[in-house]
């Protein structure tokens, strides 16, 4: 029984980490820039597609880097032409209409150019196949994904809490006009943060592809899940997103193991309970 619990815990942790890596970019956008970016899933999907393409000629680590940079490159014109107008000021309806429109366009283009089938992101031999932990076998990539998640969380925390960039960013978020008058170029800060959020989405899209397979409808299929992670964790909070991802991963995985026929019941039950008890998310700030 204890082994079963541990085994569920491991599956939950790795699934939660995939959710975390993808959702944290969305959380940053929502918490720091007040943009509800419904095209976030689409950027994760673009990352997956680029990696699948890059893997035909490059190794896995290089493909990840190319996918992240490529996605940022694709997203940049969108930032310049569209997103820049909706940072912080515009009303939610404009944001939602704009970003979901972008998501639809990306789905349509992906479906047209790349076809409706799932694209594979073949793992290197080191990460594919099972690893024997003694009490159970676990796919090697799940361990890899967990490590990726932990590193991402740590580095992000350092970046936002401990660097000059983080201090400026938080200043710009708390009072944009004041920051601007102190000589902080908020526009550049926001563009950089947007690139960071998109890059994280792409990274998550690539390393999470085993659990969330890449196909054109990825962009909307998992969007609800990502939004749920953000609202349960509290927008903009890194520890909040970690806690929410693990909690939701645990609810989903336990439900699937013990009572698969209930589908996502336990996942949403956990969501309802948390949001009921913590209306701003587990560690969210009141706005």
């Amino acid at each position: 029984m204890a082994w079963t619990g541990l085994s569920i815990g491991l599956d939950a942790l790795s699934y939660g980490m995939v959710l975390f890596i993808i959702s944290i970019g969305l959380s940053i956008m929502m918490g720091l820039m007040r943009v509800v970016n419904l095209a976030h899933g689409a950027f994760a999907m673009i990352g997956g597609y680029l990696a699948s393409f890059a893997l035909k000629n490059a190794g896995y680590p290089l493909a990840i880097v190319l996918a992240v940079l490529g996605t940022i490159a694709i997203a940049f014109p969108l930032e310049f032409l569209l997103y820049r107008r909706i940072y912080r000021k515009s009303d939610e309806l404009t944001q939602i209409l704009l970003t979901i429109g972008i998501a639809f366009v990306i789905i349509g283009v992906a479906n047209y150019i790349l076809g409706p089938t799932t694209k594979s992101i073949p793992l290197p031999p080191l990460l594919s196949g099972p690893v024997d932990l003694g009490f159970r076998m676990i796919p090697a990539h799940r361990i890899f994904v967990t490590i990726c998640g932990v590193c991402t969380a740590g580095l992000l925390w350092l970046l936002i809490d401990r660097t000059e960039f983080g201090i400026r960013l938080r200043a710009a978020v708390d009072n944009g006009d004041m920051a601007e008058s102190l000589g902080i170029k908020t526009q550049i800060l926001f563009s950089a943060t947007f690139a960071l959020a998109v890059g994280l989405a792409a990274f998550g899209g690539v390393v999470g592809a085993e659990l969330l397979p890449v196909e054109p409808f990825y962009a909307l299929r998992y969007m609800v899940t990502f939004l749920v992670v953000v609202s349960v964790g509290g927008a903009g909070s890194i520890p909040g997103a970690v806690a929410a991802s693990i909690l939701l991963g645990l609810a989903d995985t336990t439900g699937k193991y013990l009572a698969p026929e209930y589908g996502e019941f336990f996942f949403y039950l956990a969501v309802i309970l948390v949001v009921f008890l913590f209306p701003n998310g587990l560690l969210g700030r009141r706005h």
Partner: protein, 391 residues
Amino acid sequence: MSLRFGLVGAVAIATAWMSPAQCDTIKVGIIGTMSGPYALFGQNFKYGIDAWVAKHGSKVGDHQIEFVYRDEESPNPAKSKSLAQELIVKEKVQYIAGLYFTPDALAVAPLLEEAKVPMIVMNAATSAIVEKSPYIVRTSFTMWQNTVPAAKVAKARAAKKVAIAVSDYGPGIDAESAFKKTFEADGGTIVQSIRMPLNTTDFGPIMQRIKDSGADMIFTFLPAGPPTLGFVKAYIDNGLKASGVKLLSTGDVVTEPDLPTIGDSGVGILSTYHYAVSHESSENKAFLADLIKAGAKADDITMASVAAYDGARLIYKMVEATNGQKDPDKALAAVKGMKWVSPRGPVSIDPDTRHIRQNVYLREVVKQDGKLLNKELQTFDAQPDWGLAKN
């Protein structure tokens, strides 16, 4: 999309305008998944029909046959029903065909008798569909038809304890009942029976559960599409394959377009199905060549194309029998008991159930000349739909 509909409409009006009075056009409405996650199968309907038309011409006697396509997109009964209504009322189609999903086929069924329009189901695989109207005939397969042989294979391969994992919807439950009934009647034990929600993508916990149950074989069915891949990968990566648990499925889990993505670790997976693209016969060879001519890519061909090809054959036969008149009873009578050699092997339309009787093959994923394919190992001759035959 609306541009395409616009063009189809414009062409339809133009042809109606220009065609002389004595040469009539008979319209056939095809409802298929032309876009969306299952677009591959809608395209396969089109390839199959185009291949038939390319070979046999677009005319039956003096009657020009025109196929009008509509997009069912996803399991969406309300939409499929309104598409069928539009085809019947506005396009005045004499036949409806296609239908990838069971719920969609069931939604269209009640319209047929009143409109006197026969329907040729080219995929939807729940047994009960043909019972919903006397005007339905099916050229695809049913879950029972493909699963009963699977249970026989499990027995023959000395499986003692089987875990069943199926998608939680009509065909999945059909597959579960068919396997359970057949396997238990043969003295086997089902240790675990899991119904997985259709949108499951993380199969790790389910694999763990199967492993804990001590099963020596898994029988599974998921509809062909993105989730099948995740299931097979989870089976391999969670160490079930390495520890000797066998995987047996219906062919939906290992459709040919998915095989390259499953990769070499898929070698050895057993499945039972009515059609393998690699089926060896002169009819299949010619059929594949015709599909490629019709614009299909060799790696995109699935069972939906052969069902559409044979469906088009039935439509031509019906038009011929009724001489282009709207007479569904006569049309149905003409195809009941019809026998021919399809690219998948010898088939016939069961006169009682109006479902296709066909060989079901046991296949194994193998690598031949660097290409993964489903190699046929064993043939179960002329299988009826066991789901309907049981009554």
